[in-house]
Subunit: 315 residues, 2 copies
């Protein structure tokens, strides 16, 4: 990926996405001892950054491919994003969702006119059903995090953040399948000035942390985390980027996630989903353990999404 | 109140307040059939617009008055605002709060270093305790909604909204004690171009609606509404302004308030309190009853606050 590719991608998807606002909080700045800039992708269309990558990937398909539609599997936000992006571009979207996906995310997919197929909540079941649909319909499979066009699109949130605040010292991202952090890391490399990218991950699904330690892609034995968007594992396209450009992954406990979520809801008055709270919790933990590293620094944080089931809150 | 007073007030309080963002939602625009601009005072310092009026009123006190502090009574947001404004300006704040005030608002007052006094949840008990404290300490009483300096300050939210969107056809405000809507109405009169100001009020506390009908200030027999900020009645300073400059008051049922609150939380990903949801509900109701009046119009809406007890939600 080159600098030019990122800028081209951003121009290509701009008509289909929101330029989301960047918010700050005095209280959180005081708590961290740094200036923290929240890039609010929870205000993005379909409630998460995923529309960026989905739109870019669809726009790179040929006319012939588009005519046959797209297929993907996702626990939620990528599903909604593909459904909305496909509808925006006048093509059909087949969406495989695990039975465990939050109801609000399924309703979202339906509203955006995606065709839902349910499967068991395992990566194998998801992939196998998506493959079957691709074979039957001729639809192009879009991977939620391991597709280079998707990764490029996801990186544009960090690009906009750096356009607003070019001197960020750090950018924090959640790590699920690795698409967002890989895209952000490439963007920080080309457009930041000594900007480190740090991942946030639940201890309960710390595959990325262990993958960076071992040097190869590791799986998750358990994914018993409230952060439903971060239960997936890295892929062979994003892992090399992450290895090269991500400085570290900070792991957090479930109670830290819930308390970070509560803090942001209560003090910033914005709705963020648990996967986004993981990143806030990671920043709080790292700034507590290494206060000197954050003193008077500028920290960007990608608030990845705001799709929560309001009838089923953890507090 | 003259044009100049409003601009002077805005310059005076600017260093102590946030310029809050204006958000929009495609879904809500489609639902209303108009362009709706949400002035997000839920992102204001202390979580509500009230800091504007409190700061203006305190800045208008003499040095001698400031030395003796201020006293007020409020069910919540004005209490927090006075506590914070007083702390910002280095003076003490005595805050009378009804025992029924949400816990989160009491905690806010404590965090901003206000001195809390509890009383029975009646306007009489609140006023009588505040009077006693004023006598004892020499503190100046600040009325949450019937003080002209407070009214002027509250109007600056609408001023900023009109600076961003000068051609608004309507501005919707909640109506509690009448300070916000009176300030907004004066601002719309001087700075709008044919901009109508419309109030939103719960049927359960519709004193302003009845006051406009009868031509004199009416009380509330019941205040059995979830919108805890709107249980108070109009005052002799704001009522004449409201009579002159507010076109109408739209009343809404409790279930409309809750469903508007849910809509905004779920679709806009921002936390608004029930009193703010009243205004959204009023706009939805009026646009449903009079769709022609809203067709392709520009509607501003003052999202007054975001202080909710997250442990005690209506959905």
């Amino acid at each position: 990926m080159q600098k030019r590719d990122i800028l081209d991608c951003h121009s290509r998807i701009k008509p289909y996405i929101h330029r989301t606002p960047v918010l700050t909080s005095r209280l959180i700045n005081e708590k961290i001892g740094a200036e923290v800039y929240f890039k609010c992708e929870n205000f993005q269309r379909a409630g998460a950054y995923k529309i960026r990558g989905a739109t870019n990937a669809i726009l790179q398909l040929s006319e012939e491919q588009r005519a046959k539609g797209v297929v993907t599997h996702s626990s939620g936000n990528f599903a909604q994003a593909v459904a909305l992006a496909a509808t925006n571009l006048g093509i059909s979207a087949h969406i495989v969702m695990p039975t465990s996906a939050p109801k609000v995310k399924k309703v979202g997919v339906e509203q955006y006119k995606g065709i839902i197929y349910e499967c068991e909540p395992t990566l194998e079941a998801r992939q196998s059903l998506a493959d079957k649909i691709a074979q039957k319909t001729g639809a192009t499979f879009l991977h939620p995090s391991n597709d280079l066009n998707v990764i490029l699109g996801q990186g544009t949130a960090a690009l906009e953040l750096l356009e607003n605040y070019p001197n960020l010292d750090y950018i924090f991202c959640p790590v699920g399948g690795g698409g967002l952090i890989a895209g952000s890391a490439v963007v920080a490399h080309y457009f930041g000035t000594d900007c480190e990218v740090i991942g946030g991950e639940p201890f309960e699904a710390d595959d990325a942390y262990r993958s960076l330690k071992s040097g190869k892609i590791e799986g998750n034995k358990t994914v018993n985390t409230i952060a439903d968007g971060l239960r997936t594992t890295l892929g062979d396209n994003n892992f090399p980027i992450i290895k090269e450009h991500v400085s570290k992954i900070v792991r957090v406990e479930e109670d830290e996630i819930i308390s970070a979520m509560h803090l942001v809801w209560e003090r910033m008055k914005i709705i963020i989903e648990p996967s986004s709270a993981v990143t806030v919790a990671a920043l709080i933990r790292d700034a507590t353990e290494n206060p000197k590293a954050y003193k008077e620094k500028k920290v960007g944080i990608i608030i990845s999404g705001g799709n929560v089931d309001l009838q089923n809150l953890p507090f």
